[in-house]
Amino acid sequence: MASRVLGTALFRSGFTVQDAPKYGAERRGAPIFSTVRAARGASEGETINERGIIHRPDLVVVADDTLLAIPAAGTLQGIDPDTVVLVNSRESADTWRHRLNLQGELLILPAGSEVEDRADLPHIGATCAGAAACLLGVIEPEALTTAIDEELGPLGEEAVAENRENASAAFEAMIAHRGIVTEGAAVPAKDYEPPAWVELPVDDASIAAPDIRAAANSVQVRTGLWRTLRPVIDYDLCGKCWWVCSTFCPDSAIAVEGDKPVIDYDHCKGCMVCVGICPPHAIGSIPEYLAQQREQQTIEEGEADGTDPADR
């Protein structure tokens, strides 16, 4: 989002622009990054031929300072003494310069102290874009707010207003450093550092295959959380044939205990195959949210009358 706001702001300021996000497997907490390139001469049809990661960035904005310590995140890859580094942090610039042993410019975009969980960080994209727009020095505040309107319009007026406010505040917070970012040159083809290419050795398949092995852990993965419908067995109707539902369950989530089938709700994904297959139609279904509401009610009632829900 930050890159789209900054990209559009640059585009509206007469630049040719290329912006792109990059991320690996989607999972909560995984670092993501995005790049923005801008070139003058949009009206002359200037195109940007470089793409992908920026090998020598002029400005690096770090929205989450915990990423600085993670080598795989590569936040400071390719920086040189001319690169400006902007970090959203509660620590001081001196602290980070010392920790990272940086020669170049490092600025702090103060992180709100009220935010405990980084996942809840509000408007960080627009905030970073606002600060970056100021540091680049070629974007007027109006172009920034126009970009936010364009990029966040579909989210509704309230979201746009909040993001505009935060981006503008970040822009103002950086005003003393406006235009501090300088344009780096392309990598010259004369006297360049040749790549240290390596011959790959032929490794044994035991390490050269990408197979990951670990102790069996599928039981610990509570796939039952995926369920939107919950199958429920009516034992008054159950014919105790004891094998049909448990055999057909594609997740082996129905076991026969004693003489009756029992559904393992930690691992039942709610596919409803058992509901369809049960010969005496003894398995019904209820929406999962309703089932959970009822469970919660039962627990609360139990607390009210002093009995342990486990005893019921």
Binding site: Y23, A42, A186, I207, R213, A214
Partner: protein, 427 residues
């Protein structure tokens, strides 16, 4: 129209919208999903007429696409990577029907291991199917490519489905300024699909099928497909010429950048070729006569056009963002076959494998590939194929392997079977 910032995915969706497609069978997969999300929103809002149906798999999606095209309507679909492989049986099947439609593929490397990022082994797996292939290097080419693809597919001298390829992430999620062609101009360039002998009316339902045939008739039908594909080289040339006249953009079967007086030429396809274009500019600044040749059309293979553009060139650095396991780079193999025995062909073809799974190619690597190729020209000795891979990358892999081996030892019930790399030698 003023340019607007669009991702490659949205550009692909605009291609379908401007082509006024009737039917979109769809199934999502990263990094293609934004295409069908965009089309879905337009169909939902009424901005785009036509029907969109989500199928239960890519195999069904391709079947639906081919079946719909066989009724004479204009069909668009999109997939990527494992999805394309899942549909592979139908890729060959519908191409054999000679039913024209357009399938966008958003390139993503194939498992195993799994990656989300681009290389061309997915689209090259469909290389021999009968689908024609147009490869894009930027987001403008994506929207243009879809329009060209319909013209090519529906041409009576061709009548084959066409794949338009764009690279995952490097184009799919990358926004660049795109000039959306004026719909009225597009309507002139791309007339309504005239299905000719393909006809279907709901009021007069009929069946269509293919038969089990012996070798002789089978050979006839397969080779007819091949001849139609070969026709497509000159047909494409005409269409691209008309496109240039109307829209002012060069979209020929190959992009030849600074090849006129070049001694060394980079040969590659897809979005990484724009990186090569940048390297060519820097190398020219440094006084080196280097160029770039990039096939837009890979199927049919425009062998004569490629050979013509390389006449007088001393060395070609072929950069393959794919790997035919046990053979090497597909582009290198095909270029060698196209040039062998031709008078005036380059004496040296060096082979580089780079950009697998979206691995970056740095400016210095382009400079070095040019240097290695020039040296091969001077010495007459061509070096063996090289994987673009650095010492630092190998060190990182060794680190990951050592962590993985410790974990395996600690958690596997059978204990660790492997030893850290190099340990065996220390006995």
């Amino acid at each position: 129209m003023a340019p607007t910032l669009l991702t490659g995915n949205v550009a692909a969706a605009w291609g379908a919208r401007l082509a006024r497609v009737d039917y979109v069978p769809a199934f999502p997969i990263t990094p293609q999903t934004e295409i069908i999300e965009t089309l879905g929103a337009w169909v939902d809002s009424g901005d785009m007429p036509g029907r969109m149906v989500t199928l239960e798999s890519e195999h069904s999606m391709l079947t639906a696409a081919g079946a719909a095209a066989a009724t004479g309507v204009r069909v668009f679909s999109a997939t990527s990577s494992q999805g394309l492989l899942h549909a592979m049986e139908m890729i060959y099947t519908v191409a054999g029907w000679r039913a024209p439609f357009v399938l966008v593929n958003v390139s993503r490397g194939l498992a195993s291991p799994i990656t989300l990022e681009a290389d061309h082994n997915d689209v090259l797996a469909a290389r021999d199917s009968g689908f024609l292939q147009i490869h894009c290097a930027d987001c403008q080419e994506v929207v243009d490519g879809v329009l060209l693809a319909y013209r090519l597919a529906e041409d009576p001298a061709v009548r084959l489905p066409v794949m338009v390829n764009l690279d995952g992430f490097y184009l799919s999620f990358t926004r660049e300024p795109v000039n959306l062609p004026d719909p009225a101009e597009v309507a002139q360039f791309l007339q309504p699909f005239d299905p000719g002998a393909i006809r279907f009316a709901a009021s007069a339902p009929e069946s269509q099928a293919v038969a089990v045939l012996g070798g002789s008739p089978y050979s006839y039908f397969r080779y007819e497909t091949h001849l139609a594909a070969q026709n497509a080289v000159s047909v494409y040339g005409d269409i691209a010429g008309e496109f240039r006249e109307r829209f002012g953009r060069e979209r020929g079967a190959v992009e030849a950048y600074q090849t006129e007086d070049a001694e060394v030429v980079f040969f590659m396809m897809g979005s990484f070729a724009t990186k090569a274009r940048e390297a060519v500019d820097r190398l020219r600044e440094a006084g080196q006569r280097v160029g770039l040749l990039r096939p837009r059309l890979l199927r049919p293979y425009p062998a004569d056009i490629i050979a013509g553009a390389l006449e007088g060139v001393s060395g070609v650095a072929v950069i393959d963002q794919n790997l035919s396991v046990g053979q090497g780079g597909v582009l290198h193999t095909e270029l060698s076959a196209a040039l062998y025995g031709r008078e005036g062909a380059p004496a040296v073809l060096t082979s580089f494998i780079g950009g697998l799974g979206g691995r970056e190619i740095s400016p210095e690597e382009f400079y070095q590939m040019a240097a290695v190729t020039r040296q091969a020209v001077e010495t007459g000795v061509t070096p063996p194929p090289r994987l673009l891979y650095t010492e630092t990358e190998l060190r990182e892999i060794r680190k990951l392997q050592s962590v993985a081996l410790v974990e395996r030892d600690e958690t596997s019930p059978r204990g660790g079977a492997g030893k850290p790399p190099g340990e065996e030698d220390k006995q």
